[in-house]
């Protein structure tokens, strides 16, 4: 099968493949539907407003659920009085939560009181369901909770100090979510500080740090800080639950029908087979929507109690404070290098807070990106009285890259080297080598001395790289059906959160069956269908498209048999192309796909297939072909008098194995870049230290970018064949936003000659840094 990068090192590699799986595809150039710019199959439903999201689901007799949330950040609950709410006209059910399923929890499971302690402002306590959203809103205010208030801490640095109010009195653990940052189990806490974790996905420390630093001719030590970012999908988290005496249907705005089902079954002690989860359209996720959540459990109880379906959607404020966020970080980095740029040692020490949750590690990227023989990371989770973090688009890597990629930039400055040339030297990845070359050409990169522009508005250029592990999920099964009227149907429980999963499934099956995308109907997002992976970790395309192709291939074999019968030959003599079965040596003897189906003896044929393990075995941590590298280049202008930064243009060079849908990939990259720019310059969850409440739980003051903040973006998409599966595809969602913030930060440094070490890089920070530098010079 094809292996390598066209125009660079494309070759053929031999792989052992299960007998039921199809022969390898050639490179995209030779394919008809795959690797093309195919329009989204669901665009029509979206532009006409007919796509039904969870927020839009209406069921007969449906009630509206609402949560009562803690008004203070840290407390024990003395009493809860729900009687007034219970008796309020129009209220059908009230429920008080007795456990929290989000965030970290003591392993022992023992409880000091009936109600969970309050650990952050906005933690859910109780909930109710009423005939309308308005009535629910009115009734919720009648719930009375008596607290015993405790001291609290919301700030990363303060929480680390001895004597700080302690969030968890005992050691805690938490399972990592799909695609989330690794969580090492069983680590001890001291005060609010848990860890260190010295491992990442790629393994533990390597080499000998002391020796590495002793060999270094140059040592750089720096501290970088990143802020808390919230996901802000446009559709908030929410569910509609119809408990129906234990034959449960859950409509969920989710990234995982599978997890939602499993969580629900577990919470209510039901067999998985009695919980059906449906998610036809999900209005964005970005990592936060992997689980049922406390709100989902609440909706389940309310539906069970009332005997009616219950809708519970979070509002924008609840979304900010309780539905997940990217943990912040402070990263102490120490780098040793030789004068020629070769790295001798890299040490990372990090602290981050995921509020009452775990998952603030940042170690993956420092471990994986560069060739450095001596490496160690020590990552601490710090607990604070804030809502739990959640996986967020390349968890850990985005924070880690901000530090690592600026550190490498600083090394280049120290060595008076072009930062691109330095990376060329210390980065062994073939794919990033090609990305650097093609990206630099597209960008017109020429090394420029920092702060060299005259005038108050200065331009600067910067580059940064990313790495993301290619992860495989074998819970990826697809059913392909053909019907007598010519219909071809693809079914899987996998969901499409906007990433275009429906479309890529249609493409892959159409390619295999010699059809067009429009000929294939994709029905997904329903646990009645065969299991699909969660939409996290950029797993989906790489996991589910091989399953779809394998199933289509099996179906094709069946159809060949059938065609052979009709054409009175052997199946081996037949070709399927452009919707027609024909004899290999006599194109006149043929039957169209539709005609063949019409003449089936049965109404429907079904084939099911799964993703098998990677061809050649799944390998962790190797940087080979088919890995998800990226290199991004940024040009910014900085107004040194107001501190305003405008990102003028970006060039993004990316790879994701065999690209399936070019348009959708580019859209992911664009979206990732904007999110990265927002992370670099605007977005910042601010919690008031004196009250423990978020000051900007809205869109007015939590600054997401509008179209005007968007620079010119050019994308270099590189085909990179690895021979890993029957489609050899990979995901792109996460690699898209890792390199952006450090690329912008490096460009800002290049513009003004002063480096900003903490995010977001606001105008005020730029002014302060410039003034500082000026004062130092004056001294």
């Amino acid at each position: 099968m094809p292996h390598g990068i066209p125009d660079y090192n494309l070759a053929t590699v031999e792989r052992e493949v299960p007998a039921t799986e199809p022969p390898a595809w050639e490179v995209n150039d030779k394919l008809k539907v795959v690797g093309k710019r195919i329009k989204r199959t669901d665009a029509l439903a979206k532009v006409t407003g007919t796509a039904v999201f969870t927020a839009d689901v209406q069921l007969p007799g449906m009630l509206y659920g609402k949560m009562f949330r803690a008004g203070i950040p840290h407390a024990k609950i003395k009493s809860i009085d729900v009687s007034a709410a219970q008796n309020y006209p129009g209220v059908f059910a009230v429920h008080v939560l007795e456990e929290m399923i989000e965030g970290a929890n003591p392993k022992s499971g023992e409880k000091s009181s009936r109600y969970p302690d309050i650990k952050y402002a906005g933690q859910p306590i109780a909930g109710l369901a009423a005939v309308s959203a308005d009535v629910a809103e009115e009734a919720i205010r009648l719930i009375k909770v008596e607290y015993e208030a405790l001291d609290f801490v919301v700030d990363l640095d303060e929480a680390r100090k001895p004597g700080a109010p302690v969030v968890f009195a005992t050691d805690v653990d938490q399972e990592a979510s799909d695609g989330g940052e690794d969580i090492e189990q069983g680590l001890k806490s001291s005060g609010n500080v848990r860890g260190p974790s010295t491992r990442s996905f790629y393994g533990g420390p390597r080499g000998d740090l002391e020796k590495g630093f002793a060999e270094a001719e140059l040592i750089i030590e720096r501290t970088y800080r990143t802020q808390v970012q919230t996901h802000c999908p446009l559709e908030t988290h929410g569910v509609v639950v119809d408990y129906n005496q234990g034959d449960v249907t859950v409509f969920a705005s989710t990234q995982s029908t599978k997890n939602t089902r499993n969580d629900f079954a577990k919470a209510f002690g039901l067999p998985k087979s009695r919980v059906r989860v449906i998610s036809e359209y999900t209005g964005g996720g970005f990592g936060a929507k992997h689980a049922l959540g406390n709100f989902g459990v609440m909706a389940g109880h309310l539906s069970k109690i009332s005997g009616r379906p219950v809708k519970l959607m979070l509002d924008r404020k609840e979304e900010h404070i309780s539905a997940g966020n990217r943990p912040n970080s402070v990263q102490f980095m120490k780098l040793g290098a030789k004068k020629d740029g070769m790295l001798t040692a890299l040490k990372q020490l990090s602290y981050g807070t995921a509020g009452v949750g775990l998952g603030a590690g940042v170690g993956r990227i420092a471990q994986a990106m560069y060739d450095c023989p001596n490496f160690k990371t020590g990552q601490y989770d710090v607990f604070t009285n804030a809502g739990p973090g959640a996986a967020f688009r390349a968890p850990g890597n985005v924070q880690g890259a901000f530090a690592l990629e600026q550190l490498i930039d600083e090394l280049a400055v120290e060595l008076d080297m072009d930062p691109l040339a330095l990376r060329e030297k210390i980065d062994k990845s073939m794919i990033r080598k090609v990305e650097r070359e093609r990206g630099a050409r597209r960008f017109g990169w020429t090394h420029k001395k920092a702060g060299s522009d005259k005038g108050p508005v200065k331009k600067g250029i910067g580059v940064a790289q990313a790495h993301w592990p290619r992860i495989v999920n074998l819970d990826s099964t697809v059913e392909v059906r053909v019907m007598r009227d010519g219909a071809v149907e693809v079914r899987s429980a996998v969901q499409d959160i906007g990433t275009g999963t429906k479309t890529v499934l249609a493409q892959v099956v159409a390619e295999e069956l010699g059809l067009q995308t429009e000929d294939v109907t994709v029905l997904i997002g329903d646990t009645l269908f065969p299991i699909g992976p969660s939409s996290g970790g950029s797993i989906v395309t790489g996991a589910i498209t091989p399953a779809a192709r394998n199933a289509a291939y099996k179906m094709k074999q069946k159809l060949f048999e059938l065609a052979a019968e009709k054409l009175e030959t052997d199946a081996g003599n037949i070709l399927l192309e452009a919707g027609t079965f024909a004899l290999k040596n006599d194109a006149e003897k043929k039957i169209s796909f539709k005609d063949l189906l019409r003449r089936m003896r049965v109404e429907q044929l079904t084939e099911t297939a799964s993703r098998s393990d990677d061809y050649g075995g799944f390998m962790v941590g190797t940087i080979g072909h088919g890995e998800l590298g990226s290199v991004q280049f940024a040009e910014v202008s900085v107004d040194t008098e107001t501190g305003f930064v405008q990102v003028e243009r970006m060039v993004a060079a990316h790879s994701c194995g065999r690209p399936i849908n070019i348009g959708q990939i580019e859209s992911q990259i664009n979206g990732g870049i904007i999110m990265g720019i927002a992370y670099a310059l605007y977005e910042d969850r601010v919690i008031d230290k004196s009250t423990g409440h978020q000051l900007n739980p809205n869109i007015d003051q939590y600054k997401m970018p509008f179209s005007f903040e968007v620079p010119d973006i050019q994308i270099e998409l590189i085909e990179d064949y690895g021979g890993r599966s029957s489609t050899d595809a990979s995901g792109i969602g996460e690699p898209a936003n890792i390199a952006t913030a450090p690329a912008v930060a490096n460009a800002i440094y290049n513009a003004i000659g002063v480096r900003i070490y903490d995010l977001p890089i606001t105008p005020a920070k730029i002014i302060a840094a410039l003034n500082n530098a000026k004062n130092k010079n004056d001294e």
Partner: protein, 469 residues
């Protein structure tokens, strides 16, 4: 009872007039194409088109339905994405499909409505203005590039139509469903509620502040709707005095040809204020009475030394200078049951200069962290009259008496500006908040103050010189 047309359907409803239109659309009418993303006017997922008759002419604009109380749509035509659907895709829908302008799709109906509404304007063929019409819509997924391409493609499809863009034509070319042709006649049949000017309960104009701040009270309470009161609307000029009705929207002010003639940069100034749908809704009176220390219109008209005409519920009128209107944080020289009827000011003449500046972290749909306006009379390089206002630097929209006084009579040079800055810094009292620290606001105002002069007399000043002195 409230009566209006929703898409092709005549509506008569007894729902409370303070009910947000979004809830009526989604829950009462079960039209779920219009989405809810924030309920505070910030995301645009709930954008709908509002058509109303003005001198028998039917005009459409976008509004956010989450901040529109039902009472404000009496006698109007409301169009949701469903009301734009035909048996083929409209050009706006098609452009989004073809350019890949949708990912999760939750924002998409809002974008479709914004694009379509822009198609009905005279600027339909202008790609830049078409993209600008999307300034109130957030998309968290696509990175906007594909949506921008869709906007450009849509605008291109209009080029060469030289402004001839009537509803009939748009129906004929498949941009709008055929029922749009009959809307004007149908609206004429809906009686305007010609109730006398009462001022009971809460006064509500555009609702863009009230529905964010007091949505509960609005939903239940007694309301007086001001937005469509004839006597509060319009812009008139007589003897060089301009009078603007309090219920005139920001969009109407910036679109006034008469005002544009006197303020050449008017449109670019107003582009810095909120977003297209919010400008279509928010009124002058609302901005003044909301009295946000950074209210853009308050700052704008303070520098023009405007005067207000107030009226109580017995019809008694009085005039008050805008400078004297803001007493303290959200405290006004406005009696209970008194409304602002209009604002008037003298239009700038020869040798007079006006400028408005605003900075915020994110450029659009952003309430300023600091804003300022200046009005100068300059003769022979001497400032003969000066009025300076600034927002975000005091508890009220602030008229800088001392700095204005100092500037008057001074020679227009760098030394004057530097001295003025010192007086200005003394006069203001910014506080640190989520919009910025005190020190940063001081710095911004200094820069914006200098920027006024760089804009007004670019030949005289170099910012470099001002800053290094």
């Amino acid at each position: 009872m409230i009566e209006f047309i929703l898409n092709n359907k005549h509506i008569q409803t007894n729902e409370p007039p303070g009910m947000p239109l979004l809830d009526f659309i989604r829950y009462t009418m079960d039209l779920t194409g219009t989405k809810s993303g924030c309920r505070e006017g910030d995301c645009g997922a709930c954008t709908v088109m509002e058509g109303s008759l003005n001198n028998n002419e039917l005009k459409y604009k976008t509004i956010v339905s989450c901040l529109t109380p039902l009472g404000n749509v009496q006698g109007k035509h409301i169009v949701t994405v469903e009301g734009l659907n035909m048996n083929h895709l409209s050009p706006a829908q098609k452009a989004i499909v073809e350019q890949g302008g949708t990912q999760c799709g939750f924002c998409t109906p809002g974008f479709v409505v914004s694009l379509t509404s822009h198609s009905l304007t005279d600027d339909a063929g202008d790609p830049e203005k078409t993209r600008a019409a999307l300034d109130g819509n957030i998309c968290r997924c696509t990175g906007y590039k594909s949506i921008e391409r869709a906007a450009t493609a849509l605008a291109d499809s209009f080029s060469g139509r030289n402004g001839e863009n009537t509803l009939e034509q748009l129906v004929a070319t498949g941009h709008l469903p055929a029922y749009f042709n009959g809307i004007a006649e149908r609206l004429k049949k809906i009686r305007k509620l010609a109730e006398p000017m009462k001022t009971n309960g809460i006064l509500l104009a555009g609702g863009t502040d009230l529905l964010v701040q007091k949505s509960d009270e609005i939903a239940e309470g007694e309301l007086t709707f001001l937005q469509d009161k004839k006597e509060l609307k319009g812009i008139a000029v007589q003897d060089n005095i301009c009078t603007i009705g309090a219920a005139t929207t920001a969009a109407e002010i910036s679109g006034s040809a008469e005002l544009q003639a006197h303020f050449p940069a008017l449109q670019s100034h107003f582009k810095l204020i909120s977003s297209t749908p919010i400008r279509n809704m928010g009124t002058l009176g609302g901005n003044l009475v909301n009295a946000s220390p950074i209210g853009d219109l308050s700052i704008f008209f303070l520098a023009l030394d405007a005067e207000l005409k107030l009226q109580d519920n017995k019809g008694k009128q009085r005039r008050i200078s805008l400078k004297d209107f803001f007493l303290n944080y959200k405290k006004l020289a406005l009696k209970s049951r008194e409304i602002i009827e209009s604002l008037r000011f003298r239009l700038p003449e020869k040798d007079e200069y006006f400028n408005f500046e605003k900075v915020s972290k994110r450029q659009h749909l952003d309430i300023a962290s600091v804003n300022t306006a200046i009005h100068l009379h300059i003769e022979n390089d001497f400032i003969t009259k000066a009025a300076l206002a600034a927002g975000g630097v005091s508890p009220v929209p602030f008229f800088l008496v001392k700095t204005s006084k100092f500037l008057t009579g001074q020679r227009l040079d760098e030394a004057t500006l530097l001295q003025a800055n010192e007086i200005m810094q003394d006069e203001i009292s910014p506080i640190s908040d989520i919009r910025g620290s005190e020190a940063y606001k001081r710095l911004l105002l200094r820069q914006l103050f200098f920027a006024h002069f760089l804009t007004i007399k670019p030949e005289l000043f170099k910012l470099r010189n001002l800053l290094t002195k």
